[in-house]
């Protein structure tokens, strides 16, 4: 019997759990998860949990360099406005993490099981791949999924395989987000990763809505204080969530 896993399941039970996923790396999962959580945070208390053990990008986007406090209740979140943030990075600070695959599940079960999670809405940022982290999340909860891809053929092919897995596993895929589709210039759009024809086709085939997001070079200025960002991407995400 694994009591920490049981506790993790209990902590998430009955809550709205939204996971931002992509088997492909660098497509904007952490950015989008953070912006979605910030959007929810405008109306209600929201938890943002980072399951990317090696990236810890959520902490980096929010500029958090402290360590989690630990209480009788477990791991206490970092608080940013209405957001409660949990990350393995908040346990180790700026030391690197290197782990045998076998241990990744234990690490994430501990984070999820020990997190003093009080919020009813939980946004989860996930790592690339379809390995232990994905299986651990699945062991603990049945999240609604937002699937992120670049428009590039390569990225869409990787994400299509993941989508197949998600649908076979009966997870609900809310939307596909095609991130970094175009870059607006005064002289018209540039398509740095190709036109989004492949992702459009995938959406039609699977009957899932596709949302198209631009490249916003302004975003980089808000690295470390993403709560201050109110540019293009934020606005597009607001529109999607308001639909």
């Amino acid at each position: 019997m694994n009591p920490i896993l049981e506790l993790a399941r209990e902590r998430l039970k009955g809550k709205r759990v939204l996971a931002v996923m992509s088997a492909k790396g660098g497509v904007g999962k952490s950015t989008i998860a953070s912006l979605i959580a910030l959007n929810f945070g405008e109306r209600q208390k929201t938890a943002l949990i980072d399951l990317d053990i090696y990236g810890n990008s959520v902490l980096k986007l929010f500029g958090i360099q402290k360590l989690h406090e630990v209480s009788k209740e477990g791991i206490e979140p970092f608080r940013v406005g209405n957001l409660s943030i949990f990350s393995v990075g908040g346990l180790v600070g700026d030391h690197y993490i290197v782990l045998p695959g076998k241990e990744e599940g234990n690490v994430l079960e501990s984070l999820l099981g020990l997190a003093n999670l009080r919020e009813e809405t939980v946004v989860i940022d996930t790592p690339p791949g379809m390995g232990e982290e994905l299986l651990t999340l699945k062991r603990v909860a049945n999240p609604e999924v937002i699937l992120v891809t670049l428009p590039s053929k390569l990225s869409v092919m990787v994400v299509e395989q993941m989508l197949e897995y998600l649908l076979e596993s009966k997870l609900k895929v809310e939307w596909i987000v095609a991130n970094m589709c175009y870059l607006n210039t005064p002289f018209g759009p540039i398509y740095p990763f190709g036109k989004p024809e492949f992702v459009e086709k995938l959406g039609v085939e699977k009957g899932i809505k596709v949302e198209y997001l631009p490249v916003d070079p302004e975003l980089e200025d808000f690295s470390g204080r993403i709560w201050d960002y109110s540019g293009l991407l934020k606005e597009e995400i607001r529109k999607i969530l308001d639909e």
Partner: protein, 135 residues
């Protein structure tokens, strides 16, 4: 400190088990890795407090602290906590009582290396588990 959260997890999973099986529980055998530096007395105190509000009020907690045998997957070397004591001390110094290994013992490979070959790639047995229930 988070011994309380762990005790809670034990009470609630054993309680669930007891209700599903419709069996009373006399004793719970919990196994923890020594690596975690969890305080056994605090675990037991917390268990005894929390169980009062549960359906396993009569259960007693017995904690076994497992010593670690690490096995390097790179060179095959087998080593113990003692062999990496010098690598563990700085962790306590830098992070204090609520250090990463105390909270998540599996993180050991991030901080320690095989004393023979220097690899971070070694097998750990770091889970916290209920190994038996006496009814």
């Amino acid at each position: 400190m988070h011994e309380w959260a762990i005790a809670m997890s034990v009470v609630s999973s054993v309680e669930k088990w007891s209700m599903e099986k419709n069996l009373g529980v006399k004793k719970v055998f919990l196994s923890i890795p020594s690596l975690s530096m969890l305080e056994v007395e605090v675990l037991i105190e917390a268990f005894n407090t929390i169980k009062k509000e549960s359906k396993i009020r009569d259960a007693e907690l017995e904690v076994r602290v497992r010593d670690q045998n690490f096995k390097c997957r790179s060179c095959g070397n087998v080593f113990t906590m003692k062999d990496i004591r010098d690598q563990l001390d700085p962790i306590l110094r830098d992070y204090g009582e609520e250090n990463p290994l105390h909270i998540v013992p599996s993180l050991i490979t991030a901080f320690a290396k095989c004393p023979k070959c220097g690899s971070h790639d070694f097998d750990v047995d770091s889970s916290i588990r209920v190994e038996g229930i006496e009814v």
